[in-house]
Structure formats: structure tokens, C-alpha cells
Symmetry: C2
Subunit: 403 residues, 2 copies
């Protein structure tokens, strides 16, 4: 008997027909003799609908009340899913987050799961029932409803897998799995069969929307095997697990990109300790997220150039803050708001030298200029002109033999 989490995202429970279909997937797993906890998101569109309503009432809607409002979305789906399972003759029961309880800590709309009661659900599983649980929510220690941020149903699924010591966690979604790059833009994109947590983490942070990064991180910490698959096809999906289980025949696993980037360069900044901190402090205080930071070694040891990237819609605010900042001296301030970030991710990079060179050579062949570079152990990110995005991805996808 395998103990499994089956998690269905919003599109997988987006209509009554789809809920019935998802229930049949649960039925198959149940008939295979598995012990199951089902985690569901709100029906596709419902969370946005509720958010819109709150926004129409006030652009500053009370966040505690927003937690209650949004929690109603998954309450609808747990009941419908359980009803659909009952209708298939399967013993099933839904559990509200406060009944389990799923304990959370932190701010309204942005809490995190700190513990989950196991007694009642384990008893029910032992009796051969399927437990259906809402994603995305929990209760504080004073039993107020809290949500854990958009995409939080993945985090719920992984946290339950961890605390209930489940054998694996299956994430049902509307795509066949994790792809080597965006299949909507680059038709040669291929589904990845196996990927390490670290690679998945880089890819999901870089915009592959298949799984929420913090859920991947939790799965990695507790070595919970994940299996991302489509609700709507019989394909195998993508298995996510520890590096040691993966055969690195390919150096690069995937190529991700994000288009809504902007680049700011401060030329002729004083090259002395504490300058970067003085530049970034007021930006971070204004909730502006700095992504890549590149600082050249100064030729004369006195002045240097500092380049960093931010989300495009933070650009004008960032420039304003820098201009107002009296603590820093620089020669000139320039920016480019039409850039994109291309990242090659692969755990094989660690042991294979020359990946960076390979990437530069490939883009040089396409005459694509690289505006900034940042590398980590399993990732190389480049900033290029936005107009070159698709061409660059296609070239890299081919060069790294992902086609």
C-alpha cells in the first residue's frame, strides 16, 4: 500500500465535469489499493472572482477578512470533490482546515503552515476512507482562518505529505509536466521525465509556473518525491526527486525565461565598502525586489559600474528612489526597460566545465548581445535585449540538445 497525496489545481477542478473527471483519477488510485489524501484548490477563476469583489469594496480591503473570503473557495471544492467520490461509491469525507487543524503562523494572506493535526485523518485513512482537504489555507493558534499566498495549495500538499509521512505527492495540473522551456512559445520544447529538486526550484523561480517554489523547497528538505502530471492526459508527467536518483546525461535540463525585466546601471560609483548597501537599502524598504546584481572590478580601484535587474513595473519607482538618494555618488544613471532574462538550469553543470562558454558561443553565433551575466552552481542567467528572446531560447534549446 502506497500512501499518496493527490493534489488537484484550479483548472483540474474548474468545472463540474472536471471535478467528476478528477474524482475518477482518485478512484483509480483508490482501486489500486493506495491510501489517499486529496488536496484541492478553488475552482479556476473563483479566487480571482473573490479578489475582484473585495477590490470593488475597497482597494484596501481588510486582510483578515480577505482570508475568510478566499478560504470559501476551497470549501466549495472539497465538498464537491467529496460528493463526486461518494457518487463513485468511494468512502470519502472532507475536512476543513480548522477541523484538522492545519496550523499556520504569520500575517494574514501570507501565513505559512507550521503544523498539521494527524490523529483524526489517520484514523479515517485506517478505516479505508479518502480524506479531502482544502489547499491554500489554515488557522492561526487563536483559530482564525489564514491563507498562505497564491499557489499555496502546492505548499499544503507538500506539508501534508511531510507530516503524514506519505510516500509521494502527485501534483495534477493542466500541463503534461515540466518542460525544457515554454512549450507555448517554443514548439520544440520537450517534457522533462526526471528533474532534481534544485533544478525544479531554479526553473519555478524563473517563471515555469508548474509548481510553487516554496513547495518544491519543502519537498526537497524532506525528500518527498513529487510527480507533476496532467489531469487531462495519461502521460507520465515529470518526477521530481533528489539528485542522486537522476542520470545526468544532459548538462542542461531546461531553459527558462522571464520577459518583464528591467535593467539599471550606475556608472562611476565609488568602489568602497557599504556603497551597494546604501544603494539597495531604500529600494528594499520600498518592497522592490532586486534580482541579478553585477559589479565589475574597477580598473583604477576607485570607481566601478553597478548593474542590477528588477521587475519592469518597479522601474520608474526605482529610478526615482535612486535619484532622491543623497547618500550615493555616481557619474551617470542609465536604464533599459526592454530586456529579458534567459536562464539555463542543470544540475549537470556542477561537474561539466564549459557550459558558460557554450552558452556565450551559441548566442554569439546568433549575433545576440549579452547585457549582463550571473551564474550559480546549477544556473546561468543572461540579460539580453527583449526582442532577441525567442531566438535565444531556440538556439540554446538546440545547442544543449534539448530538442
Amino acid at each position: 500500500m502506497t500512501k499518496k497525496i493527490l493534489k488537484f489545481g484550479g483548472t483540474s477542478v474548474g468545472s463540474i465535469e472536471r471535478i467528476r473527471h478528477a474524482a475518477k483519477i482518485v478512484q483509480k488510485e483508490f482501486n489500486d489499493g493506495n491510501s489517499l489524501i486529496v488536496v484541492v484548490s478553488a475552482m479556476a477563476g473563483r479566487t480571482n472572482d473573490l479578489l475582484k469583489k473585495s477590490y470593488e469594496i475597497s482597494q484596501n480591503f481588510d486582510k483578515k477578512e480577505l482570508d475568510i473570503l478566499l478560504s470559501s473557495g476551497e470549501m466549495e471544492t472539497i465538498a464537491l470533490m467529496t460528493g463526486a467520490l461518494n457518487n463513485l461509491g468511494i468512502k470519502a469525507k472532507s475536512w476543513l482546515s480548522w477541523q484538522i487543524p492545519i496550523l499556520t503562523q504569520g500575517e494574514p494572506t501570507n501565513s505559512r503552515i507550521i503544523n498539521i493535526g494527524t490523529e483524526k485523518i489517520n484514523e479515517y485513512l485506517k478505516k479505508g476512507g479518502v480524506a479531502v482537504v482544502p489547499g491554500f489555507q489554515g488557522v492561526s493558534e487563536t483559530f482564525n482562518l489564514k491563507t498562505i499566498g497564491r499557489g499555496g495549495s502546492d505548499a499544503t500538499a507538500v506539508a501534508i505529505a511531510k507530516i503524514f509521512n506519505m510516500d509521494c505527492c502527485e501534483i495534477y495540473t493542466d500541463v503534461d509536466g515540466v518542460f525544457s522551456t515554454d512549450p507555448n512559445k517554443i514548439p520544440v520544447a520537450k517534457k522533462i521525465d526526471k528533474i532534481s529538486y534544485e533544478e525544479m526550484l531554479e526553473l519555478s523561480s524563473l517563471g515555469a509556473k508548474v509548481m510553487q517554489p516554496s513547495a518544491v523547497q519543502t519537498a526537497m528538505m524532506y525528500k518527498i518525491p513529487l510527480h507533476v502530471k496532467s489531469t487531462f492526459s495519461e502521460r507520465e508527467g515529470t518526477r521530481i526527486f533528489s539528485e542522486e536518483n537522476i542520470d545526468y546525461s544532459k548538462v542542461v535540463t531546461g531553459v527558462a525565461y522571464s520577459k518583464d525585466e528591467a535593467k539599471i546601471t550606475l556608472q562611476g560609483v565609488e568602489d568602497k565598502p557599504g556603497v551597494a548597501a546604501e544603494i539597495f537599502e531604500p529600494l528594499s524598504k520600498n518592497q522592490i525586489n532586486i534580482d541579478m546584481v553585477i559589479q565589475n572590478v574597477s580598473s583604477d580601484g576607485k570607481k566601478t559600474d553597478l548593474t542590477f535587474t528588477i521587475k519592469r513595473n518597479d522601474l520608474s519607482k526605482s529610478l526615482e528612489i535612486i535619484k532622491k538618494n543623497k547618500k550615493i555618488n555616481y557619474m551617470s544613471l542609465s536604464h533599459n526597460e526592454k530586456v529579458s532574462k534567459i536562464s539555463a538550469v542543470g544540475a549537470g553543470m556542477i561537474t561539466t566545465p564549459g557550459v558558460t562558454y557554450e552558452m556565450f558561443r551559441a548566442l554569439a553565433e546568433e549575433k545576440i548581445n549579452i547585457l549582463a551575466i550571473s551564474t550559480s552552481e546549477i544556473k546561468i542567467s543572461l540579460i539580453i535585449d527583449e526582442s532577441n528572446t525567442v531566438r535565444a531560447i531556440k538556439k540554446l534549446h538546440k545547442s544543449f540538445k534539448l530538442d
Copy 2:
């Protein structure tokens, strides 16, 4: 300081605009220095939408899960209402039924409120806050969500009024109050300013959909003054209280009717004890509700005629059951599926003789034949041919000086 319940029905919170409008009514009451508990229904259409979804999954949807599904409707409105109040600068907080708790007993989808926790909300009221509470729901003693039947938000409002010892309970709805008859059909219908619980009970049982009968009954038992008024106008509405507060200048307060009736007559039934029971037992076991029952005194002491009315859509099933019933003997079985029930209600009837005669005379003038009659202390109900309904109501409305 007056302690008030303000209850808003589905149409009163049917859109964001309407929720904002309802919040302004609360604001006015709050600024008048009243201590307030606000009870809300689900947004108009939402409960039906959820029911439809459950029905699409299974016509035999699990009732425990249905309770969870339907409870999500009011969860949405308490959060939106509270957000709207906060937005007007009013200190407000929503409470889920299990947080209060609103304790219920009984079957899923048909429980009743047996107790309500007062400590937390009273503390909050003392601090000057407005408590916002979901109608229609509660939790069992084992803390499973339960609903209390359609229209149950009225029952919630009255139960809270009783247990919190509130001074009055205001029911905001989409009509100006209780009318002397259906204003959509009979334009001369007049709004009733004051009505006794007993009269209201008869009228609401008879199809005046303004208030749920069991809520009126609870209010009557505990003498909680009710005030039914429109969310959308400034008119005074209808006050419902004990008879002693009412001046009975009019004998009849209102004329109600219901069109979906059918009549069955068994002629030549043996006139001996237990016969009626044998006729009705199999009907009631099949959930068929018997309304009026009329049995004539038999002329010879041996045979009698028995007439009774039922809902029209129970007719064919009822006839089938009677035909199958081997325990009863009768000469002939007849039915009329095109009848309607007209009822005149008025606490003044108790002290005013001749109301029945007045009613018969009025209908005779209109040449309307009376098919069956049933009377109680404050009500006279007649069965007539359906085609005469509007003409009969107009005539009675005029005869009893309600125009």
C-alpha cells in the same frame, strides 16, 4: 443604547453595490449609537448555484457535504460585509458559526439552532465593534458544519436576538414589508404597518414569502419585536409584535393565496374510527404533506365524504397510493388539480362574529363557487377553482376594506 439585530437577505447583499448600500444602513444604525449584530444570507443566486453544482454531480449528493458546500455562501458575504463596514471606518469583525459557536442539532441540511455562545461576541460589542454573523448555518456538537434549511437566515437572526437578549430584530429584504395580499398580482394590495406574530405566522405559512414561519414562531415565543423593511427604500416597513400592542380596527389583516394546490375527494368512506388514519398513513410515509382536511358529518351515520388538499405535484403519487391501499373502502375517488387556496387572516376574527359569512357572501356576489372550507381562530381558508383566484382576492380585499 438599543441592542439590534440587522438581518440582510440574499437580494439585499446580491451584488457588491448592494453590499455597500447595506453597509451604509448599518453605518446609520451604528452612528445612532446602537449595539449591532449583523446577520447576512448568501448573495442572491449563490445558494442555488451551489445546489445546482451538487445536483450536477449527483442527484443524491451526500447531505453532510452539502452542508459544507452551502455554508461557503454566507462565508463569502460575512467577509465582504465586514470589509465594506471597515471601509466606512466602522470597527467590525466577521464570525464563523463554529467560532461563536452556533450549536445545532438534527439532520444534515435540516438542523435547528439549540444554543449560541455569547461570550466572545458580547466582549466585542462592549468594545464598540459590530459583529457580522452568517445566517443559515451552525455546527453540531462534534463541530461538523450544518445548515438549517432554506430561508434559515431569519431563524439565525431571531435565535441570536433571543439568546443575546436584543431589543429588536430588523429583517431587511427586497419588499417594503408585509402586504395585505400579493402586490405583484393585486395592485391595490397595501403594506401592513403592524401585525401580530400569529397573523404573520398564518400569512407566512400561506405563501407570503417575507419571513420564514419558524423564525416568526421563535420570535413569538420569546416576544422579540420584528421589523420587516426594505433595504432599498426609506419606508417604515411592517412591525411584528404581540397582539396586545395592536389596535384591531380591521377584522382581517391580509388575504393570502397559494395556487399550486390539488384536491382529492373520497366519497362513501366508512364512517368509523381509524379510517382517516388508514388513508393518511401511507401518504405521510411517502413524505406527502396533507394540508386542509374536510370531513362531512354522514347523514346515515355509516358513510361519509372525505376531502383533503395537497401540493399539486404530489397529486399523481397520492392517487396511486390511495388506489393501492387495500385497507380502505370507498365508493368513488375524484380529484381536482386546478384549485387554489385563499385565506383571510386576522387576529380580529376572534372577537368579531360573522367573518365567515362575510367571506361567503362576497364570493357569492362574484358567483365564485367554494369547493372546501377550513377555519381556525384567526384564519379562514377556502378552496376555489384556480381560474377564480385573482377575482376572489380582489373581491375579498375590497370587502374587508384592505384597499
